[in-house]
């Protein structure tokens, strides 16, 4: 396919080159426009990094007294980064097993006729705006979870994650993590499903012909075949969860603590939520500090996404 395109491209160029000058001019303008668009897009991505860095510099050079909360920049961002990673990790741990199961259900278990419709329904989860997830989390899921939170704090309080005292509103890390899990499930599941459905038929049918049950067939052929897809899907989901803003901003009652307690009402603040909460009312060097925290978030998600893309690219080569 690739080589074919190249040959036709060359043929087109030779033909175009052989004819009159006005044609060559049109070609040159159009191909330059396409190249300019390509360069613009790369420049845009570079611009994101550059402008964030430029606007972060005043916060880096400012003294601790001028920064919000009177802390140094590192002391200011570190607890926020902790909150970000905690929420995203929790969401990923919940979402990945579910997403893999959903992918298997659509690719191997559900009847072929309805599989596409089911995939569409799962993708709808990704189409819902995050503000709506936030409202749903705080008004519906949170209150519904108060009983569960109390039970966890009362019965499993010896585990550091459930120390309590349990929140009475449901505005906790656990609920935020669950909502994030629902939000990232479609992307993880879509990446896994794509590869699961490409499992070679000869492997699947070979396993079945040897007398394997369907689950054994899945475990012995589909899951090993899709391993790198599960890894890259997990990383993509993690990247989404790290940067997701509105749902956590609304659901968490943030207090900037560093704590693993998932059920109490004082929660660590993720970077994105901190920006959304404080940016509209901030001025001066506080804005620069917020942009610096955004730069940290950008760097974290960039690394996670690049790992995911490298894994996918390597898998496509094989």
């Amino acid at each position: 396919m690739e080589a074919h395109t190249d040959t036709t491209t060359q043929a087109g160029q030779i033909l175009a080159g052989a004819s009159g000058g006005s044609r060559r001019l049109g070609d040159r303008i159009f191909s330059n426009a396409a190249t300019i668009a390509a360069v613009t897009i790369l420049a845009l991505l570079a611009g994101v990094a550059i402008f964030l860095i430029v606007k972060s510099i005043p916060a880096v050079t400012a003294s601790a007294a001028d920064l919000p909360e009177g802390k140094t920049l590192v002391d200011y961002i570190a607890p926020l980064a902790f909150g970000t990673v905690l929420a995203a990790t929790l969401a990923t741990i919940v979402a990945v097993p579910l997403a893999v199961a959903v992918a298997l259900f659509i690719s191997h278990i559900a009847p072929r006729r309805i599989a596409l419709t089911l995939a569409y329904i799962v993708d709808l989860l990704a189409a819902i705006p995050s503000i709506v997830y936030g409202l749903w989390g705080i008004f519906v899921l949170g209150p519904a979870f108060v009983g569960v939170l109390n039970w966890l704090a009362d019965n499993l309080g010896f585990i550091p994650f459930f120390t309590g005292p349990a929140s009475v509103t449901g505005r906790t890390m656990l609920v935020a993590g669950l909502v994030l899990a629902v939000m990232i499930l479609p992307i993880v599941s879509a990446v896994a499903r794509e590869v699961f459905s490409q499992t070679p038929r000869r492997l699947e049918e070979g396993a079945l012909a040897l007398g394997a049950t369907r689950w054994e067939m899945i475990r012995m052929t589909v899951l090993p075949f899709g391993r790198s897809a599960m890894i890259s899907g997990t990383m993509l989901g993690l990247g989404r969860a790290l940067g997701e803003t509105m749902a956590v901003t609304i659901i968490l009652s943030v207090s900037g603590v560093v704590s693993f307690d998932l059920v109490s009402q004082s929660n660590p603040t993720p970077i994105a939520a901190n920006i959304a909460l404080n940016f509209p009312e901030s001025s001066g060097v506080a804005v620069n500090a917020l942009i610096a925290s955004g730069l940290v978030l950008f760097a974290i998600t960039l690394v996670v996404n690049m790992i995911a893309r490298v894994v996918i690219a390597r898998q496509n080569l094989q």
Binding site: G12, A34, T35, I131, V182, L185, G211, R240, P280
Partner: protein
Amino acid sequence: MPQDPIGAGSGVPEVVPEGAGGLAVAGTGGGPLPEWTPYTVTGGAAALIALLLAATGSFSIVLMFVLTVVISLPVIYVWSRIAEGPRRALDRLATLSIVAAFGIAVAPLISLLYEVIKRGTARFDSAFFTESARGVVGAGGGAEHAIVGTLVITGVATLISVPIGIMGAIYLNEYGTGRLRRALTFFVDVMTGIPSIVAGLFAYAAFAVFLGPGIRLGIIGSVALSVLMIPIVIRTSEEILKIVPNHLREAAYALGTPKWKTVTRIVLPTALAGLVTGVMLSIARVIGETAPLLVTTGVVDSLNTDPVSGRMQNLAVYAYTEYKNPGVMKQAAYDRAWAAALTLIAIVMILSLIARFIYRRFGTEIR
């Protein structure tokens, strides 16, 4: 015809020779369970639990679902293990767990849509679409200014993203070679993962460098949305351009058509339906964004249609601020927030449905 006892499906005949060593599936007794067993057990368990819950007066769909799964999974496993042996029992357990996982994944969607419709309809009235929030303290008021703002901001973002995105896709598919092409492919994928709030901060920072700090304009929001939208447009457009058959291009070249005319007169018209679908889906993706607009367009109560002057409200930020600062009559503000959420979901759904319709109706010749 014998029933397919393990539901292996896909037309593979079930050949399990007796005494085939470790692969023998046959259990200790009873033989394979009839095909209806799992349905009967789960259905029966669900009905029983529903009755029990209703009798104790604590009926809830969630509780019923959870208890049904918790009870029917072990029952089926044990029954199947006795009748069919451990391997088929494990197969049944795995299959049912996967089905249950799908149920768990879809449950939030159902609950969310139900709640948004239930709570959003309270203020889903004509005043909501024709009045602004100017001077409104308690009940009443509307989101006209936010709806107009959403349309203007997203419209400008579309005007920025579509030409760049489609030209970028043309570059990738028709012109690109070597390192620039590889770099663009890789970084477009990476760009799809940029957190939306970071896109907002970038747009703010870029404008603040030139226009001074504290700047809030509709167009800044459009630039932020473009950062999120361009990678989606370029990705979908590239997929569509890829499936335009090569023989169309070759036929054009054979007639001596220059390349740029081939692309503009042959390739793009053939791919038009797919391109429109991709653009609409990308609009649907960004129209509900809150975070990047919260930091770039500001919050305002009155109508503003000029993206390059003054603050501009939009639906998502409107829903957020109504929830965050409900003022004196909390419920009225919450109702407006839910109505805005319902409007957003309706817009997103309608856009996706129209996109699908266009692709089905007009995109057939290249599939």
